[in-house]
């Protein structure tokens, strides 16, 4: 089994420069471990075999990317750096965006993050090298690759992958409203509501967690966002929010959380309110309490 010398070239297809700025320390600062991979930065795309692409692929860059990709010699591996490169993220709805990049080139490894930590970018490059070696030796590309840099850690406060506690969630759709990159989708089904968070579209801003009235959605400090292209659409956090049955009329309804009730009943003691009845029955009960 022969080892290739990884030669890296970066292409910016219209990023907000966050990923490009984070790319430089990844290469230049020792603690991120890229130097242990034996990566060489090349001046000319013709010599490269690992291409790191940032940005959502603006209309203006498209033809230049096509001609640049045409110059690369096979075999090569493409690492999409940043949420924009993976799914266009926050810029998806714009008229000036022709992306994501996998429309033009075959992307192998996706690094989601806005911008990704240098640790994640290093991980993406390492996985890219692994895929490249497998391609060179004619092996099949596996479905998943285990984490290569195992000793990286993130501080508690790091805004990483979002998570949902379905018991707290009342499907009020605040997170859906404030999410700038439309990563959250709530759909109603017969069994309740499905709450989906697509990590590859998330821009890790923490808006949903901040505005969530019940604290159901929260960010973890996990930065495990480096996935192979085959996992692109599967990396979704999906939870079912189940309704309850009303203790009075027996209809199924979405129980409100204490937090929401507190906002609705400012002058009442929320603890004393009966939360096991549906909104219709509660209206009736309130009417009786006030006027009967």
């Amino acid at each position: 089994m022969s080892e290739v010398v990884p030669k890296l070239f970066r292409i910016n297809t219209g990023s907000c420069n966050g990923c490009d700025v984070e790319f430089m320390p990844t290469i230049l600062v020792e603690k991120f471990g890229v130097s242990t991979l034996g990566v060489e930065m090349v001046e000319d795309i013709k010599d490269a075999n690992i291409i790191a692409i940032t940005g959502p692929l603006t209309a203006r860059s498209e033809s230049f990317l096509k001609s640049a990709v045409g110059k690369i010699r096979h075999p090569y591996v493409v690492v999409g750096v940043g949420t924009c490169a993976v799914t266009c993220g926050i810029f998806r709805d714009s008229y000036a965006i022709n992306g994501p990049t996998d429309k033009i080139v075959d992307v192998n490894v996706n690094v989601a993050g806005c911008p990704p930590r240098p640790q994640s970018i290093a991980e993406g490059i390492a996985k890219g090298i692994k895929v490249l070696n497998q391609v060179m030796n004619g092996e099949d590309i596996p479905k998943t690759i285990d984490t290569i840099f195992k000793d990286f850690s993130a501080p508690e406060s790091f805004r990483g992958r979002m998570d949902l506690n379905p018991d707290m969630c009342t499907a009020c759709r605040t997170c859906e409203t404030v999410c700038p990159s439309t990563a959250i989708k709530i759909t109603e089904i017969a069994q309740g509501h499905v709450h989906n968070i697509w990590h590859n579209s998330c821009c890790y801003c923490g808006n949903c967690a901040y505005f969530c009235p019940t604290g159901a959605i929260f960010s973890t400090n996990s930065f495990d966002t480096v996935k192979l292209q085959s996992e692109k659409f599967e990396d979704v956090n999906s939870e079912i929010i189940k309704p309850s049955d009303c203790s009075s009329c027996g209809d199924s309804y979405m129980p409100p959380s204490r937090g929401l009730l507190g906002k609705g009943y400012v002058h009442d003691d929320v603890k004393k309110l009966d939360t096991t009845i549906c909104s219709k029955c509660r209206k009736e009960a309130n009417f009786k309490r006030m006027y009967a």
Partner: protein, 365 residues
């Protein structure tokens, strides 16, 4: 005999995609320069009108990740102006802290790119490692190394307690001596000086005519820092916080002078953070999580790490802005490039471009 040279759009020394068409003479001096941009045009002005005010807090951050605190802050100030909201003094102080931390990190990044392009490897490594302290600080306090997401329409999302203040002060204690040491070395390093002194000169008259802003202006001896000329936020309440611009002013107007002007900015930013943190006003960090925004227009300007940033916002009482436009610092500094590059060596073009700290994603948006 002249030769035509093209640089870009994808180039290892260019942080963002630009396209240079140059004509050089037999001594490889640039005779004619044409700069083509638009590669980073993402249709931002259309995009902001499609998203609601809460989403735009984050979208404006992504105009440019290097000044990613100034954009949402200026946007929030414009909304507050339309809504007639006065935000608590504590929120103003928190905004200044976030802003100046970003300024230090942004300017340090530009300096490390300068030394990277100049191939002064030791200096580059030390600058980058010093910047890492600020990046780690941002990650610990705000949760992300670049996009801090610290602003809210009527204040800030985050708050500082004693533990966090201590983390900030400890970081500044480690970083400040390193910055002073680096400043000394940048001032005296022979290799760097031969490569940067007298390169890409922007004379005072040209600088005034073009109307450059930020460290580019300060490198040519002009003081038009918005924090001093038109104080906003906490700078208006506490004038003693305003930066002492004389520390950043340089007369030479070359690449080296602009780098040294950035050092002045960085050291003043460190001083401002210390002053604000030492005397934090008490109170709330925001007024109202989701304010009512009536119809109206507002223009607000602030000082970004690269210079003057102007926001224009028009609303009609709905949940989305009708029009949002911004004038970014690189827009004016860009014109100065033509003066700087003409008559200089073609090998210096990327270094001169880097010296205005171009934010092409702001300019193209």
């Amino acid at each position: 005999m002249s030769e035509k040279i093209e640089i870009g759009p994808f180039h290892t020394e260019l942080e963002e995609s630009v396209y240079f068409k140059l004509e050089v003479d037999e001594h490889r001096m640039v005779e004619k320069v044409e700069i083509i941009n638009g590669f980073i045009h993402r249709g931002m002005e259309s995009l902001v009108t499609k998203k609601n005010f809460m989403q735009n807090l984050i979208l404006t951050e992504r105009v440019c990740s290097l000044c990613s605190n100034n954009h949402p802050m200026t946007y929030a100030m414009a909304v507050e102006k339309i809504s007639g909201i006065t935000i608590p003094l504590r929120a103003e102080a928190l905004r200044v802290v976030a802003d100046e931390v970003k300024r230090v990190a942004s300017d340090m990044f530009n300096l490390s790119m300068l030394t990277h392009i100049a191939h002064t490897h030791e200096l580059m490594k030390d600058t980058m490692n010093t910047r890492e302290h600020m990046q780690d600080l941002k990650e610990v306090i705000w949760g992300n190394r670049m996009d801090m997401s610290s602003n809210l329409l009527t204040g800030t999302k985050y708050d500082l307690d004693d533990r966090k203040v201590k983390i900030i002060l400890d970081t500044l204690d480690t970083v400040e001596p390193k910055i002073r040491d680096l400043k000394e070395r940048y001032e005296n390093d022979e290799e760097l000086k031969t490569k940067t002194v007298g390169v890409g000169v922007l004379p005072l008259e040209d600088a005034l005519e073009i109307g450059v802003t930020g460290p580019v202006a300060r490198g040519s001896g002009i003081n038009n820092d918005v924090r001093v000329m038109a104080p906003y936020g906490l700078y208006a309440y506490r004038p003693e916080l305003q930066p002492n611009v004389t520390l950043s002013l340089r007369k030479e107007g070359d690449v080296h002078a602009r780098a040294m002007a950035r050092f002045g900015d960085i050291l003043e930013a460190v001083r401002i953070i210390r002053d604000v943190v030492a005397d934090m006003p008490e109170g709330d960090t925001y007024v109202d999580k989701r304010p009512h925004i009536p119809a109206g227009e507002a223009v607000v300007r602030t000082e970004a790490p690269r210079g003057e940033l102007i926001y224009y916002l028009k609303t009609d009482g709905s949940q989305k802005p009708v029009r949002m436009r911004w004038k970014v610092p690189t827009f004016t500094n860009w014109e100065a490039l033509k003066v700087m590059i003409l008559g200089d060596k073609v090998d210096n073009v990327t270094m001169i471009l880097n010296s205005i700290d171009p934010c092409i994603s702001c300019t193209d948006r």
